[in-house]
Symmetry: C2
Subunit: 513 residues, 2 copies
Amino acid sequence: MNSNKAAPVASEENFLYLTKAGIDTHQEPVLFMRRDCHVCRSEGFNAQGRVRVCVDGRSIIATLYIVTGDLLSHQKAGLSDSAWKLLKAKEGDKATFKHALPVESMSFVRGKLYGKVLGDEAAKAIIGDISEARYSDIQLAAYVTACAGNNLNLDETIAITKAMVECGEQFHWGEGVQVLDKHCVGGLPGNRTTPIVVAIVAANGLMMPKTSSRAITSPAGTADTMETLTSVTLSFEKMRRVVQEQGACLAWGGSVSLSPTDDIIIRVERALDLDSEGQLVASVISKKVAAGSTHVLIDIPVGPTAKVRSIELAQMLGRLLIETGAALGMKVETVISDGSQPVGYGVGPALEARDVLAVLQCTKSAPDDLRQRALSLAATLLEMGNACPSGQGLALATQTLDGGAAWKKFVAICEAQGGLKTPPVAPFQHPITAHKAGIVALFNNRVISRLASLAGAPNAVTAGIDLHVRLGDRVEKGQVLMTLHAEARGEMEYALDFYRAHLDVLHIEEEVV
Amino acid sequence: MNSNKAAPVASEENFLYLTKAGIDTHQEPVLFMRRDCHVCRSEGFNAQGRVRVCVDGRSIIATLYIVTGDLLSHQKAGLSDSAWKLLKAKEGDKATFKHALPVESMSFVRGKLYGKVLGDEAAKAIIGDISEARYSDIQLAAYVTACAGNNLNLDETIAITKAMVECGEQFHWGEGVQVLDKHCVGGLPGNRTTPIVVAIVAANGLMMPKTSSRAITSPAGTADTMETLTSVTLSFEKMRRVVQEQGACLAWGGSVSLSPTDDIIIRVERALDLDSEGQLVASVISKKVAAGSTHVLIDIPVGPTAKVRSIELAQMLGRLLIETGAALGMKVETVISDGSQPVGYGVGPALEARDVLAVLQCTKSAPDDLRQRALSLAATLLEMGNACPSGQGLALATQTLDGGAAWKKFVAICEAQGGLKTPPVAPFQHPITAHKAGIVALFNNRVISRLASLAGAPNAVTAGIDLHVRLGDRVEKGQVLMTLHAEARGEMEYALDFYRAHLDVLHIEEEVV
């Protein structure tokens, strides 16, 4: 070279033919290239480097893994399933490759770690890059970690919420239309009130286009549970039609691209078993705003082993939710509920769906705590939506449920979404018995969630725990306390190993005679 | 199942034959398995899940990538190069697979994010797990991020330092033996004083078994530079022999397993372009303690674009280094130096090696700033080591360098390590010229480092920048300010693209007439 002219454009000659590697690397786009191919050598690529792959004006950033054996020919580069999809590649596409420029928005993440506030510009840049799949998994981990705990203040939370809304689709239900919504901050296994509440509220003519997320660190989210009952992966247009027809839906938020970065962030939070209060608020409020909600009720269960452990924390979180909602033009109310033990009997997508059906069908075996919680939330929403005078919500909700109108509405919603299904049952079940007699004195919600997760929930939809006792129950030695459900022998074994090391999943106190 | 007996041990039947996948995933151990093979199905494995791979009583944790095509047969599982090495696998080994239990020490990382202090137990657990390769890349990213900025206090830093020392090998040079060492916290391109200082100090009969790290976010570390001159990958025993013979060595710290977690952590810090003060102190002090050093001098360059930007920060860092050293029984002194511009002419491993040789050989072209800095540091070390009375260190150091004793000692050390080599020269060179006339008023060290990194340094050893001007120099329009060096055309192109977007690499002020 040794000249003052610009170097020739490498991309003109440095091409390889793309092939589908046939490797599922989950979300992270991965590129496979031979160490001794001409592109790798001339560009000076290294393992785990970030490479821009270009085809016909389209391009993605992928993480490079170097092929040291004979998996690929010298003329080919492989793409992981996620990279293949993201680039919309076809077999034999001629692609060029260059070093990806550093993702500039990472400087805001670094700034945050040194105490700088994440402003609107920073939030927009970070969330924009995440939504365009420009962050590698370790960069996502750094962002999630930087926001973890209480590290985001109100302004930062609002900035991230706005950015998350902006990079996805948004529903507009019309000027002045009142759109109801509810949410539970989670942490309480089995607290699956949403399908019941939506059915009661919609049966009373109010609009409730519900989108739910999948589980973060819990064994089931409402979307996971509803997926065992009907289709929840609705297109933007399909969701709109269901709501126009039924006044409500029970869809997965990720499938309609409302706040699409949420699911990317959630995957990493789940892998790290890490939550962030600000990110949680941004996640909740951005989904609600994108869904076009105007009035939102948020359930915050409090208990020693729930996600929120004290009334003070719940109040703090409640304020953050209310104020972030207000900043985005949405009325938010919060209710603090008892989070001392799991709700209903089932923990895990299909088992919780079974409980939901029992309450909606008013069967004798229906768990009363799930019923009461759903009625109370529906009551507040009916009053917020002016379906009845203040103070008469509970009576109206009860009448809607017991009279069968809620069940009828639920069936209609499921039919509109693609048909009502019967939740499947796990092939492997294993009883867990009391090691002594006494009174059930304490449930450890976190250990219960972990146990259900290790059994395979939510990915294995029938996996989880079926609880047979409640706080205060008297049990005999050898009595079955719960039944573990799993879809694979390995997962059952894994859950049992964990149970043997964590017998404190529920505490039995000996009775004082 | 449906019985109260424990599930059968899955591992007895669920085996696959191992094969080397021939894929370099850098450090993270990766497992490749068909989605439809019996193990994947029965264990319920998912993409990116963490799986324990067991062979003959040995086992590793690997990240699972699912093979969706025909890369592997149903009876085989592939391992990445790093996993293959870590497990010491052989082609055809019969391996069993199970879900890896969650890494318990991650709970300490989570606790840290919620404001808990990292105590001795936590540090030991985290560093132990990292050294045993039990952390995935995203878990490493979370740990590095949790410690980033000023997030570690003195006690936490001491705890991590102790843990890092304990999980590696340690040199003991004998009771009461005085062992000298030096270190620069970095951030100043070209500040390659170490080889010169070691030669001067050792030529005066003091013991200086120097181990250096590779670059973190900079274009060269001392180990990278020394590797262009001699072999730095010495075994524990080889390093001991070199020091016994020559009183000194210039080795790569990672190769002798002194504080081995350091290099694992550094790789992720580099990918995230993230430093942590506490982790930096732990990294420095743990290496020195493991190397058996008793007296350490630490150079802290300060400048607006150096790693440390203010005297206050330098003093704070200095205190942290001195106190952490003291807690581990080591005497640390610090010196704050000028960090306003790069040192010497070359930036990048081979270019810096060229400058080091020029100073040691006292050639006319030797950069005087590098010479003066090395003399000053050597002077302090000679006094710390009682090789001369206080106040006479500089005279002794100068005499040792100018009299040729330092060069003779440097050659002897290199010969003992495997022979002195001539640093190679880059095949691609490209001059960068002044766009106007004036006075060189400012160097941006960070942009210079970035530019040299993009040109390929330190992985491409001849890559980097050769500077032809200094602060205060008068330049004409069109005068060559620096020459870019690269080993690959793509990297040169990449660096030039970056330069065109960052002309502020050095600022030329017009002269007021």
